[in-house]
Amino acid sequence: MAAPEPTHEPAGIARRRRSDVHTISLYVNNKPGVLVRVALVFSRRGYNIESLVVSPAAEGDFSRMTITCSGDPATLEQIIKQLHKLVDVVHATDHTEHDAYETEIALVKLQASLHERTEILQVAENFGAKVTDYGSESMMLRVYGSSEKLDAFIALLRPYGLRELVRSGKILMVRGLQET
């Protein structure tokens, strides 16, 4: 259920460039310390992790990590090789060029006056967002989809008094029978 992409960019609000963002999927042992070991591979090279999602894998004592980060490709190549070297990492793959389904979820809290809410609800409807809390002083919306879609949604809502924003970080799965 893809919501239509907005047709215009809100004035004065730059959308995040997504072209140099990489999404790496890791299959790791579900053990204490694994997250630190993975994070150190990035931090030693001055590479910033933009989002990181950890969840149990389908079987066995393994976890799946989905990491998005941006930076120069040569360093990223080293990072993926160094991730592979970690004993607790079973495999590490950069899915940037792969045919994969990606999604992310966001919760947005707005301090919107009652007279603005019609416009907000119109935006929400266009993006397939659901109202999850509706009070006299604030409202909460839940939206999911591609990270770019979420960027656009948030940019459109920002003028209405964005109080809080929580994004899950991107998750991804390769299409077809091929393993992610």
Binding site: N29, G33, K85, V87
Partner: protein, 571 residues
């Protein structure tokens, strides 16, 4: 006590015995007492050191001299943090260590208990892998994995942190003989396609060069290196840590390359049209300015660690695998070309730029080391510390056999040389073992004189004493207008008296005329350690030298007559 369930500590010691561990290098402490207690009834010999850093370097020297893992046992908190330098040293140089650290009781973890430190947290960046053991029953499996990981693939240090209640609690879990590590792959043979691609490039080269590193030492690939060199009729150069993989006195060998390598080795690097790295990682001491390093030469890279490909240099062909196995597969595929002119050129450079030093002007380190090499006929195991003496030893003490040259290369850890010699002598009691150290580095771990004295370890310690941190002084003289800062080691003790205070035989070399006599006397002393102090001239410089970050072609062969630009390289 038949039928009693062993403690975790007893199970650990039984495991080490089954593993064939001869020595544990360690220093006791509260959180490790159960393990030290279990050692009382063991045939494993505990070598009590005077500082935990010394234990790690001893274990490292033992490991590099024998090829077997070195085992360290220390306590929690500061005992464990004192191993960090040794862990880094072993990681950078791919030495197999298993470092066991005591830890506070599991219930106290994270509560700032006495001598508690987040040891796995502190050491993540300096280990190949590590464990915090939370259950006594995990001890057999964790130890099995730790030894497997430390010793296979690209070796390295593995840390096992064991809380006191885990080592003292009952452990009835059986020993395991196999490991289940889905994320850990040990490469062996290379793929056929990359072997053929490498053979094709080697067959086209007019001026091939084999560049041999520590990986060739670790996999004992020296014989295969020589076979390949002889079939191709290609010259060989090695890195600081590659010394000894292939006999440096072989006619095709040009010795050490890099920052303080021989001029003829570096000339070959500049002019080759193909360079093949064998278990080497294009370190900045080797390449100088990377963009200009062998810019027009084809590059083949053989390494057991695929993360080394494209890290510094993008090779034309990469070969993943064990150096010896890959070379043995490659040699039959290689068709030699006519390299007569190239070898002739290399020999001309060898004659034109011999290693040399002034024969006048007082006692020089080069003279002492040159004589040490000749008197020992290149058969001694040499452990070098870090600095000028290390480079002179690397230049003048040609290494003729595998695992006869041990030094801290990647980390450049001062204080490594002397404890490493003690460890090497424990591992190779039949070998003549010489530590070559400077007065600066020696003082960082000289407390281990006691360890050597107690165990009558017949390792020999040659202190090249110039009363300076000489390598830094050399840089300040050459590049910083001789503005000396933080290099004058005034206050040095009399090292002869110091050694004698430990009951160790000590000799002093003050004049060139003393050198042979004193070295012979030291060689003849086999009842225990011996310290030889060479009081060398204060101001002497290591040449050839490639300033850090400069291209290899900017090599300085002779002492410069004018001031030099500051190097762009970081160290």
């Amino acid at each position: 006590m038949a039928g009693r369930i062993p403690t975790g500590a007893e199970k650990l010691v039984q495991f080490l015995e089954r593993e064939g561990v001869e020595y544990i290098f360690g220093l006791s402490g509260g959180a490790a007492i159960p393990i030290f207690d279990a050692l009382v009834d063991s045939k494993i010999k505990l070598i009590l050191v005077r500082h935990e850093q010394g234990a790690t370097h001893m274990a490292d020297g033992y490991a590099r001299a024998t090829g077997r893992p070195g085992v360290v046992l220390v306590t929690s908190g500061p005992g464990a943090t004192n191993t960090v330098t040794g862990l880094l040293t072993a990681l950078m140089d791919s030495a197999p260590l298993v470092v066991i650290t005591g830890q506070t009781n599991t219930g106290n973890l994270g509560k700032d208990a006495f001598q508690e430190a987040d040891v796995t947290g502190i050491t993540y960046p300096v280990v190949k892998h590590s464990y915090l053991v939370k259950r006594s029953a995990d001890i057999p499996r964790v130890l099995r994995e730790a030894f497997h990981i430390a010793t296979t693939g690209r070796p390295g240090p593995v840390l096992v942190d064991i809380p006191k209640d885990v080592s003292s609690g009952p452990c009835d879990a059986p020993f395991v003989d196999s490991v289940d590590l889905p994320g850990y792959v040990v490469p062996g043979h290379a793929e056929r396609a990359s072997l053929e691609a490498a053979a094709e490039l080697l067959g086209q080269a007019q001026r091939p060069l084999l560049y041999v590193g520590h990986g060739a030492v670790i996999s004992a690939a020296g014989k295969a290196v020589i076979q390949l060199a002889e079939k191709l009729r290609a010259p060989i150069v090695n890195t600081l840590l590659g010394k000894g993989a292939a006999d440096e006195t072989h006619p095709l060998h040009l010795g050490m390359m890099g920052m303080h390598g021989t001029a003829y080795a570096n000339k070959a690097v500049i002019h080759c049209d193909l360079i093949m790295a064998i278990g080497a990682r294009w370190d900045d001491r080797v390449t100088g300015k990377v963009d200009e390093f062998c810019a027009k030469a084809k590059k083949i890279h053989l390494d057991i660690d695929p993360a080394e490909f494209n890290k510094v240099i993008r090779p034309d062909v990469s070969l993943v695998g064990d150096a010896r196995l890959v070379l043995e597969d490659l040699i039959p595929l290689v068709e030699p070309t006519d390299t007569t002119a190239w070898l002739k050129q290399c020999d001309a450079w060898r004659r034109q730029y011999p290693l040399k030093y002034p024969k006048r002007g007082g006692l020089r380190a080069q003279h002492v080391l040159d004589r040490l090499h000749h008197l020992t006929e290149g058969r001694a195991v040499i452990t070098a510390d870090v600095g000028q003496h290390q480079m002179w030893a690397a230049q003048f003490c040609k290494t003729t056999a595998n695992r006869h040259w041990i030094t801290s290369g990647g980390a450049g850890t001062m204080g490594f040389g002397w404890p490493a010699a003690i460890g090497a002598k424990f591992g190779r009691p039949e070998a003549e073992v010489w530590a070559v150290v400077g007065d600066g580095g020696f003082q960082m771990t000289m407390a281990e004189l006691a360890t050597a004295a107690v165990h009558k370890v017949a390792a020999k310690c040659l202190i090249i004493n110039n009363n300076y941190l000489g390598m830094v002084r050399q840089w300040q003289e050459l590049f910083y207008e001789n503005r000396l800062s933080g290099v004058d080691l005034e206050g040095n003790p009399d090292f002869v008296k110091l050694a004698e205070a430990y009951g160790i035989k000590a000799l002093r070399i003050s004049r060139p005329g003393d050198v042979d006599r004193k070295l012979k006397e030291a060689r003849a002393h086999d009842a225990g350690p011996v310290v030889v102090v060479a009081e060398v001239i204060k101001e002497d410089n290591v040449f050839p030298m490639i300033p850090a970050g400069a291209p290899v072609s900017h090599m300085i062969v002779d002492p410069p007559k004018h001031r030099l630009e500051k190097p762009v390289g970081s160290t």
